[in-house]
C-alpha cells in the first residue's frame, strides 16, 4: 500500500483561525426568501389590497374612481348575481364529487393493479395536459354535438328523459346545458383529483391489505376500514384542487354552456373586461375569494388535515 505511506497532503493551516461567530448564517434564510416572497407580496398580496380598495370606490371610467367606502356595491353585486354564485358552487361541487367517483378507481388501478402498465397509464393521465386545455374543451363540442352518436345513445336509453326532468338538460340537447358544463368541468379537473389520490394510495403498504385479509376482512371491508381512511389526505387535497379552480372557472361555462349556465367567473370576466365596471367586478371577486377561503377552512378543519402545503 504505497499510497498510504506517502506523506499526507497538508490539510490544516498552521495557526487555527479565529473562532467563527456562533450563529453563522443567521441572515441566510432571509436572503433566500427575499426575492420570491417579495414577488408574491407585490404581485399577489398587494393586488388583493388594491382589489379591496377598488371594490369600495365609486365613480366612472371617464371621471376616475375614488374610495368612498361605498359598501353598497357588495350588496348590489350579491343581489344581482346570487344565482351565478349558487350555480358556481353547485356545478363545482357536482364536478368535484364526479371527479372523486371517477378518479378513485383509476388512481387505485394505477397504485395497486397496473403492474408493469403503471408508468404507461401515468403518462396517459398526464400527457393530455400538454394539449392546450382549450383545444380539448372544444373537442367536447364535437363529442356532445346535437344529433351526434353520444346524444343519440343517451336519448335512446331514455337517459335524457331523466336529466331533462332534473333540469340538467333541455329537450334533445346536451350542449349548452348544465350537464355539458359539469361534464367539461369534471373532465378538466379530473387529473388534479387523480394525482393526489394516487400519491396517497401508493404510500399504502400492500401488506396492509394482506393483513386485513388475514384478519377476516372481506375486500369491501378492507377498502372501507383500511384503504379509504389511509387515502384521506389524497381525498382532501384532491377535492380542494378540483373544487377551488372549478368554482372560479368560466371557460367551460362559456364554451359548453349558454347564458343560462353562466357562473360567477363569467360575470367577473364580463364586468372587468367588457362592461369595465371595476368596483362591481372587484366586489364580486372579493366575495368569491372570501367564500372559498371560508369553505376551504371549514373543510380542512373538519377533515383534520392541516398540513397541505
Amino acid at each position: 500500500m504505497s499510497t498510504l505511506t506517502e506523506a499526507p497532503p497538508p490539510l490544516a493551516p498552521e495557526a487555527p483561525e479565529p473562532k467563527p461567530p456562533k450563529r453563522r448564517g443567521r441572515w441566510t434564510p432571509y436572503w433566500l426568501l427575499l426575492p420570491g416572497i417579495l414577488w408574491l407580496l407585490v404581485f399577489f398580496a398587494l393586488p388583493m389590497i388594491y382589489q379591496a380598495s377598488t371594490s369600495v370606490q365609486t365613480g366612472s371610467l371617464e371621471e376616475g374612481y375614488k374610495v368612498t367606502w361605498h359598501f353598497a356595491t357588495y350588496w348590489d353585486a350579491l343581489s344581482a348575481y346570487w344565482p351565478q354564485f349558487v350555480r358556481s358552487v353547485l356545478y363545482a361541487g357536482t364536478a368535484t364529487i364526479l371527479c372523486l367517483l371517477l378518479g378513485y378507481p383509476l388512481a387505485y388501478l394505477i397504485a395497486f393493479r397496473a403492474g408493469r402498465w403503471r408508468n404507461l397509464i401515468m403518462i396517459l393521465v398526464i400527457a393530455p395536459f400538454f394539449t392546450s386545455f382549450l383545444i380539448r374543451t372544444l373537442a367536447w363540442k364535437t363529442i356532445l354535438a346535437d344529433g351526434g352518436p353520444l346524444v343519440g345513445a343517451l336519448d335512446t336509453l331514455h337517459v335524457l328523459d331523466v336529466t331533462n326532468w332534473l333540469g340538467w338538460t333541455a329537450g334533445d340537447r346536451v350542449l349548452a346545458t348544465p350537464l355539458a358544463v359539469v361534464c367539461g368541468l369534471t373532465y378538466n379537473f379530473l387529473p388534479f383529483m387523480i394525482l393526489p389520490l394516487y400519491t396517497s394510495l401508493e404510500r399504502i403498504d400492500g401488506r396492509l391489505h394482506e393483513a386485513a385479509g388475514d384478519l377476516y376482512a372481506r375486500p369491501w371491508t378492507t377498502f372501507r376500514k383500511v384503504t379509504f381512511p389511509l387515502s384521506m389526505p389524497g381525498v382532501v387535497s384532491g377535492t380542494l384542487l378540483t373544487f377551488i379552480p372549478a368554482t372560479g372557472d368560466y371557460v367551460n361555462a362559456d364554451l359548453l354552456g349558454s347564458t343560462d349556465t353562466r357562473m360567477v367567473g363569467n360575470v367577473i370576466q364580463t364586468q372587468f373586461l367588457r362592461v369595465l365596471d371595476y368596483p362591481t367586478a372587484a366586489a364580486l371577486s372579493f366575495i368569491l375569494m372570501a367564500a372559498i377561503l371560508l369553505m376551504v377552512t371549514l373543510y380542512i378543519r373538519r377533515s383534520g388535515t392541516e398540513d397541505l402545503v
Binding site: T3, L4, T5, P9, A12, P16
Partner: protein
C-alpha cells in the same frame, strides 16, 4: 506497511462539553486517544457518544472545552479543514456519484488532479476494485460500508471516526466486517475512534474502550480490564452480566476483606474493591456468572475449602449448547445467574434442586453499595 509515527498524533479532548438548552448531552470530558490506537466509545443510545464523535469531526460545536489533534487546537476549524474523516452510520454515500467518484471526492476537493491510481489502490484494499463504476444503491450493505471506509481512509486522516458503522448489517456480516476493519486498522496504522452500542463489538475490536453513560465516561480501559474490574454497576451490567449481593463488611485481614451476607461469609480481595470498605459499612459484591461452579447440595462436602459459597435452589435452566444457563433463587440474591460449561452434566441439576454456588474469591469484585445494582441492565439488553 510502516506506521506513520507522529509523536504528537494523539487526539486530546480537554473539558469538552455540549449542552442543548437545558439538556446536557456531554458533561465536561477529558479524554486522550493515543496515536495509532483503536479506541471505542461504548454506550446506549443517547449517552453522548455520537455527540462526542461529532465534536471531534467538527460537525458539532462544543459548548466548552477544546479538541486538539497532534498538538494542534482544531476547536475552531470547520470540518472541511480538519484532518479527520468520518464513516457515517448509514454510510451517507453520495447517491448521484458512482463508487469511484465517491471515493475520489475528498481528494478532488483538495485539488488533486490525478486520483485514478490512489482510488484504484484504495478500492483494492477494501476489495471493491470491480465495482468502481456502480452506483451506491447497486451494492450490498456490506459493500456500501466498505466504500464508506475507503472514501474516508483515502484522505490519510490523522483520525478515522466510525459512527456505528456496522449497525445496519446482519449479525454474520457484522462479525466479518469487525475483523475486516481491525485488519485495515492494523494495516494503515491510523487512529480509529469507533462509536458503538454493541459491547461485544467494542470488546472484539478496540484496544481501549470508554464506557459512556448519561453524558459521562463511566470507565476507561482495556476490554479485559473493564470486564474483570468494573468500577460501577453500570459497567458491570452493560458489559456482560453480573450478579450482585449486598454485604456488610465484617473484618479485614491483610489483603482480604471478609463480608457478611445472609448467614454466610464471603471473601473479597482488597485490590478488587473500588468502594470505601469500612467495617460495618455496605458493599455490593459482584461475580460474573461464568466464574461460578454449581454443586448439588448432597455433594456440598466435596467443595474445597477457601471458596466463596452461597446456597440456593435452581429456579430455571436453559441449555444453549456450549453451556447451560441456570437461574438460582438464593436468600442473598433472588435471581443468581450461573453459566456452566457442558463438560460433565450432573443430571440432578434441574429446577427445584437444592444447590451450592461456589467460586474462587479472587474472582469477586466489590462496588459502592450506594448505587443501583440494576444500572445498565436495560441498556445492554
Amino acid at each position: 506497511m510502516t506506521n506513520q509515527t507522529d509523536p504528537t498524533g494523539d487526539v486530546r479532548l480537554t473539558g469538552i462539553s455540549k449542552t442543548y438548552g437545558a439538556f446536557t448531552a456531554v458533561h465536561p470530558l477529558d479524554l486522550t486517544v493515543p496515536q495509532g490506537s483503536f479506541f471505542a466509545l461504548l454506550g446506549a443510545s443517547g449517552c453522548g457518544k455520537t455527540t462526542t464523535l461529532r465534536m471531534i469531526a467538527g460537525l458539532e460545536e462544543p459548548s466548552a472545552g477544546t479538541v486538539s489533534l497532534g498538538g494542534q487546537d482544531v476547536t475552531a476549524l470547520p470540518p472541511y479543514k480538519r484532518p479527520v474523516n468520518t464513516v457515517f452510520q448509514s454510510y451517507a454515500l453520495f447517491p448521484h456519484l458512482d463508487i469511484f467518484e465517491n471515493v475520489a471526492f475528498g481528494l478532488r476537493r483538495r485539488g488533486l488532479k490525478s486520483v485514478k491510481k490512489q482510488v484504484g489502490e484504495m478500492l483494492d484494499l477494501v476489495q471493491l476494485g470491480e465495482q468502481a463504476r456502480k452506483k451506491p444503491h447497486q451494492l450490498s450493505g456490506g459493500q456500501q460500508q466498505r466504500v464508506a471506509v475507503a472514501r474516508a481512509l483515502i484522505n490519510h486522516p490523522k483520525v478515522l471516526l466510525l459512527d456505528e458503522p456496522l449497525g445496519a448489517l446482519d449479525l454474520k456480516l457484522r462479525r466479518q466486517m469487525q475483523l475486516e476493519l481491525k485488519r485495515i486498522q492494523t494495516e494503515v496504522g491510523i487512529t480509529f475512534i469507533h462509536v458503538t452500542h454493541d459491547q461485544e463489538e467494542a470488546m472484539t475490536m478496540a484496544d481501549t474502550v470508554a464506557v459512556m453513560n448519561a453524558g459521562r465516561v463511566e470507565q476507561l480501559g482495556s476490554p479485559a480490564d473493564l470486564y474483570e474490574n468494573p468500577r460501577t454497576t453500570f459497567v458491570a451490567n452493560f458489559l456482560g452480566t453480573s450478579n450482585f449481593i449486598e454485604a456488610e463488611v465484617d473484618s479485614r485481614s491483610g489483603e482480604e476483606i471478609v463480608l457478611k451476607a445472609g448467614g454466610g461469609k464471603l471473601v473479597l480481595p482488597e485490590a478488587r474493591c473500588s468502594a470505601p470498605a469500612a467495617t460495618g459499612g455496605k458493599v455490593l459484591v459482584g461475580v460474573r456468572p461464568e466464574k461460578i461452579s454449581l454443586t448439588h447440595a448432597d455433594d456440598a462436602g466435596e467443595i474445597p475449602d477457601g471458596r466463596n459459597r452461597i446456597t440456593g435452589r435452581i429456579a430455571d435452566s436453559s441449555f444453549i449448547g456450549v453451556s447451560t444457563q441456570y437461574v438460582v433463587d438464593s436468600p442473598v440474591c433472588p435471581d443468581f445467574e450461573v453459566y456452566a460449561q457442558n463438560i460433565d452434566r450432573d443430571p440432578r441439576l434441574v429446577p427445584g434442586a437444592e444447590v451450592v454456588l461456589h467460586w474462587n474469591p479472587a474472582h469477586t469484585f466489590g462496588l459502592d453499595a450506594a448505587q443501583d445494582a440494576d444500572a445498565g441492565v436495560e441498556e445492554a439488553a
